[in-house]
Amino acid sequence: MGAIIEIKGLSKTYDGGFTALKSVDLTIEEGEILALLGPNGAGKTTMISAICGLVQPTGGTVRVGGHDIVTDYRRARELIGLVPQEITIEPFETVGNTVAFSRGVFGKKRDDARIEEVLRSLSLWDKRNSKNNELSGGMRRRVLIAKALSHDPRVLFLDEPTAGVDVTLRKDMWNLVRQLRASGVTIILTTHYIEEAEEMADRIGVIDRGELMLVQEKSQMLSQLGQKELHVELAEPISELPPALAPFDVTLGNGGHHLSYRFDRSAERTGITRLIAAIAEAGLVLSDVSTRQSSLEDVFLRLVEEHGA
């Protein structure tokens, strides 16, 4: 599949002089789910806003579906659905009208059946005649999603779609995102929840202080940067490491009950076999052995730390 969004040198310096985006280059493939991960104030919303026309870029170009977002903004924006981070919704209007309005303002022909379909897919059909200010927070967020989907976008931006959403609803949302992807929609979501990126994304981009530090396939990112830890519980506590274990980078913990060993899963020799042999040789008795895969969270934190250093 081809690229649906091409970002070249996208920069944004706000009026006060603060640079929120520093020359971001990124190509987003049609049909993928890209998660943008980054701490508060990293520039995620700024980047999305610049692509969608809410913020004026101070440098660089963006093409959506081959259309420049400045010179050919109509064609570019027709393809985009945006769910903003903040819940902003007309309070006194009904759910049905709010969603139908979005379709209209995007220049699409009125289509009640399509609106019904969208509302049903978000479990909002029963609420179609309710006023927006009579809805719960989670429902309002779904109305925002319905608005973005009402005009059948090919690209959907979800800026922290699951902030303040309970676990069940979050699962529902993940399912919805998967269904959308299956129907060919490209999805760019931002999140603070690493598990969300881990669960959903095909690729993950890490943003920090306005810089896109890394964009990788999720699996690749996990395996390249991911380390594992071997945890060994001892039946009898020991006071110090036996000499047989000296060559290994092993830490003793939990009052002498616990050994932990870090290794790189993708390395040619992990050293596990030799370590286990050495433990046996030292005459230690194991009560339990486990390994832990370092999560994206560890990866992410490490990246941000390195960047800050």
């Binding site: 706000y14 009026d15 969608c52 026309g53 809410l54 913020v55 004026q56 903004y73 109509r74 064609r75 570019a76 924006r77 027709e78 985009i80 945006l82 903003p84 903040e86 902003t88 919704i89 007309e90 309070p91 006194f92 209007e93 009208n97 309005f101 979005s102 379709r103 209209g104 303002v105 995007f106 220049g107 699409k108 022909k109 009125r110 608005k147």
Partner: protein, 253 residues
């Protein structure tokens, strides 16, 4: 031109208007009646007629203009300020629409509402005075032109305003005095020489004068000058709005 987007905005705005239609109409109608009582009955008792028109009838065009100007500025400024205030404007800014379409939708709806109210006031005034309208087509033209140009001004104010105080400031501090000093309740010829000259710098004078001419055929300034003044004002507002959307001023950081 993207007519579907325009229609969506216009219909949405009109729905909003009709949700509160009663309170939108009651207050202007009530205040007009008060003006009639105060100005028409109290002052009209002393001033027999102005240039051959009974005082009560003479002030009708001015009263209508007063309401029309206030309403179009207020409605249009609120119409665009509100989405800015609650944040729903993100959708408009990310939609495939140009500024003309946005303006037609919002300003069109605001002007429609204000002109509706102006017509209601016109109808109300027939209960108090005998009206004659010599140039009905021109009267309608003046209503439309004025409603639209001041809705354009209101639109600008709505984008400019950073809070509700600012939003109310302009109608209160500028529009109302201009209307009162623009000959709504008197003929400029009744003023002493010095004040008359000052009055000619008041743009609203040209509107009221032209509008009154369409009723009674009498005016303070030639009708062509009135039309030119409205056209100029409208062009200026459109120019400012064009610049706002081009530069992103107060809309796109």
């Amino acid at each position: 031109m993207n007519w579907r987007s325009i229609k969506a905005i216009y219909v949405f705005e009109m729905t909003r208007t009709f949700r509160t239609i009663l309170q939108s109409i009651v207050s202007p109608v009530l205040s007009t009646i008060l003006y009639f009582v105060v100005f028409g009955a109290a002052i009209g008792g002393r001033i027999e007629s102005v240039e051959g028109v009974s005082y009560g009838a003479f002030i009708v065009p001015g009263l209508i203009m007063l309401t029309l100007l206030q309403q179009s500025v207020t409605n249009a400024s609120f119409g665009i300020y509100f989405p800015k205030f609650i944040g729903t404007i993100y959708e408009l800014l990310s939609a495939p629409v140009n500024f003309i379409e946005i303006v037609i939708g919002y300003v069109g709806a605001a002007a429609t509402k204000s002109i509706m109210i102006a017509v209601i006031i016109l109808a109300t005034s027939t209960f108090f005075v005998d009206l004659r309208i010599e140039h009905p087509v021109w009267m309608v033209a003046f209503l439309l032109l004025t409603g639209i140009s001041f809705a354009l001004l209101g639109f600008i104010i709505g984008i400019w305003a950073k809070n509700f105080e600012q939003l109310q400031l302009v109608p209160l501090l500028i529009i109302t005095p201009l209307v009162f000093l623009g000959g709504s309740f008197y003929s400029v010829s009744m003023l002493p020489e010095g004040w008359r000259t000052v009055t000619f710098f008041n743009p609203v004078l040209y509107l009221i004068s032209g509008f009154r001419w369409s009723f009674y055929g009498i005016s303070d300034v030639p009708i062509a000058v009135s039309l030119a003044a409205v056209a100029l004002f409208m062009a200026a507002c459109l120019g400012v709005i064009w610049w706002i959307f081009r530069s992103g001023w107060r809309l796109r950081p």
